[in-house]
Symmetry: C2
């Protein structure tokens, strides 16, 4: 038994400034527009999602809302998808989630770099060499075995920057 | 200094039979049509190639001919891209090639599975766990440092099945 995990990086957000805490930075109009086009294209291509999970940060939530508008799925928010979360913390949440959602075949997770690509590497090879690049509004697709220890057991089938999907 | 290496798996070919040696199997009409659409789409998306290398097998050569028609590049044929070639044999040829082609920024290499995805894993992580899937007429993009030992030093930026490119 396996499920597909799609890591989706948030779209382009406004720059950091004194007046905007990092977690409150929204998508730019261009970031919103490009993300909308990417998500519509994913749906057209037949990419199915049964569940949607997001980091609590504004730029991730806004990206998840774009996914919700197309996929008609509720957003589940995980603090474990926020920046600087250790892999083990996120994995513990994933394992609880997969035991609670045994029939989900494909889940989208909206989050941040470098966490998403680093976690993907650990799931694929058991370690991280910063060898994968996930662009803003890009998508990375993994097949994950439903075991208590998926580390080093995943399978990579998709890595696309948004320009491929526009 | 780096260059981009695009591994391109040949398109769908006719099945093995008593009368057709493996190396002589041509693309099916569907395989040819889908590969043509994929290659045109890659060009539309701005994927640039400066050089084109192919396995000598018929299904790879026919795939390379489709690339040639769109990219207007000559086909260089390497026996080291044929099935069952050890990674080290292919790498030795690559190192000679890169010293002879110091200005090439992007090369397409048409070959076979599981060799292409296994070699990609070795370039990325120094070993292979069969953790990457490259579909027929799919594309895998790596950035390779121009060093004498790129093993474990590459960077993955693209992995697309053909359905994303149709």
């Amino acid at each position: 038994m396996t499920f597909n995990l799609y890591f989706i990086r948030h779209g382009l957000a406004v720059e950091r400034s004194e007046h905007t805490p990092d977690g409150d930075r929204p998508l730019t109009p261009e970031g919103r527009h490009k993300t909308e086009r990417v998500v519509k294209r994913l749906r057209e291509l037949g990419l199915g999602l049964d569940a949607l999970v997001s980091s609590p940060l504004v730029r991730a939530q806004q990206t998840a809302e774009i996914l919700t508008a197309v996929y008609r799925l509720p957003i589940e928010t995980w603090p474990e998808l926020a920046p600087d979360t250790p892999f083990e913390t996120w994995l513990a949440r994933l394992l609880v989630w997969q035991s609670e959602n045994p029939t989900v075949a494909a889940v989208g997770m909206v989050g941040h770099e470098p966490e998403l690509s680093n976690w993907a590497e650990i799931l694929l090879w058991g370690g991280c060499r910063d060898a994968i690049a996930l662009k803003k509004a890009g998508v990375l697709g993994l097949t994950i075995p439903r075991t208590v220890s998926p580390v080093g057991e995943a399978f990579l089938f998709l890595l696309v920057p948004p320009k491929i999907l526009l």
